[in-house]
């Protein structure tokens, strides 16, 4: 009988559902948003400081030439412009390594970046001349909520692929492989 009651609740008026869902936004979220904004700013500054050193040291060789100070996107452009398949493969590998080392905090605690219903971390990678945006979201209002990692075409916002990871971390190589498989 109580299950019947629980089920009967499903069809209660929309206004009650929206009222309950939006209550948080009215009363508490502004404080949380402010806190998250400061956390976001602090995280950005920290990432910029961390990036400053390794990016300046990145180098990639082609025919003995050294590319000093190349950014991730530069490396991706370099790979996509190459007509040599084997070189493209190497460059892609380097791209993955460099992202791992520098930009995506894949192995970091995502909770400090996340907030309910909000995009946590954005990252852009380039494959075959197309820029893809990787977004990580985690609803911290749910205990043990999955970390949802989604890739879109950056320019058109077209959805490409999404995968859920348990916990607060995801495997970047695994997701990039999935993305490459999806677009190849």
């Amino acid at each position: 009988m109580n299950e019947e009651l629980l089920r009967a609740m499903t069809d209660i008026d929309d206004e009650f559902l929206l009222e309950a869902d939006e209550y948080k936004a009215e009363a508490v979220v502004p404080v949380k948003k402010r806190r998250n904004t400061w956390l976001g700013i602090a995280a950005c500054i920290a990432v910029l400081v961390i990036l400053a050193i390794p990016l300046s040291k990145i180098s990639l060789s082609k025919d003995g030439n050294i590319l000093n100070g190349a950014g991730v996107n530069d490396i991706a452009d370099y790979s996509s412009n190459s007509t040599d398949d084997s070189m493209f493969g190497n460059a892609e590998e380097s791209l993955g390594e460099n992202i791992n080392k520098t930009e995506i905090p894949a192995d970091k605690d995502m909770e400090s970046y996340s907030s309910s219903y909000n995009t946590a971390v954005n990252q852009t990678v380039e494959i075959d001349g197309v820029k893809y945006r990787i977004e990580c979201t985690k609803d911290d209002s749910i205990e043990d909520a999955p970390l949802v990692v989604t890739a879109y075409i950056d320019e058109t916002n077209e959805f490409i692929v999404s995968k859920m990871y348990e916990g607060t971390e995801y495997n970047l190589d695994d997701f990039l492989n999935l993305l490459k498989d999806s677009v190849s």
């Binding site: 109580n2 019947e4 009650f16 929206l18 309950a20 869902d21 508490v28 219903y117 609803d139 949802v148």
Partner: protein, 185 residues
């Protein structure tokens, strides 16, 4: 991220454009997943429920043309999650939904008959309308969204004991209300 208006998404469904599903996922994917997670309590079942919600929405629009897409997909997700819960837990008990069900026993009148003949949803709407906003929000968060008492307390800025006490009193009021409306004999 770009957000498309609900009406535009409904039009995509009406035009049988598959991008309707992607737009729904983009805008309400987390909402749908959260409802399923609160009932089912694990990622794989909730993910299955989320996908079934998109399919069910695709199959039902048209002929339906919901004015509020968010609550429409939320209700579908909740129903599917309850179905899946019943299927998977026919023998095995435990988890958040069992707790919700046992709490709702307080609301069921001692002697009930013809329970299925009564329009419970209408009675619930009427009951909720008579409650003050805080009580109503608490009740819906707990028994519609399946949120934990600690999460409700955090979101609403109350202590956990206040939330638990208020919910207990609201359940008792609902029981009295259902009895008064002739649900019991």
């Amino acid at each position: 991220m770009r957000k498309v208006e609900d009406r535009q998404i409904v039009i995509l469904y009406l035009n049988r454009s598959e991008s309707a599903i992607l737009e729904t996922k983009t805008k309400y994917g987390q909402y749908i997943l959260k409802i399923a997670m609160n009932i089912l309590g694990n990622v794989s079942d909730s993910s299955e429920c989320e996908n079934d919600t998109y399919l069910s929405t695709w199959n039902s629009i048209p002929p339906k043309e919901p004015e509020n897409l968010k609550s429409y997909v939320g209700k579908i997700s909740r129903n599917l999650a309850l179905d899946l819960y019943r299927k998977k837990h026919a023998e095995k008990r435990g988890g958040n939904t069992d707790v919700l069900l046992s709490e709702l026993e307080d609301c069921v009148p001692d002697k009930t008959e013809n329970f299925s003949d009564v329009n419970l949803t209408e009675l619930l709407n009427s009951f909720l309308k008579d409650q003050n906003k805080d009580k109503r929000v608490m009740f819906v968060k707990r028994y519609w969204y399946g949120e934990s008492i600690s999460d409700i307390a955090k979101e609403m800025g109350f202590s956990e004991s206040k939330v638990a006490t208020t919910l207990h009193r609201t359940r008792e009021s609902l029981k009295e209300y259902l009895e008064k409306e002739g649900v019991s004999v």
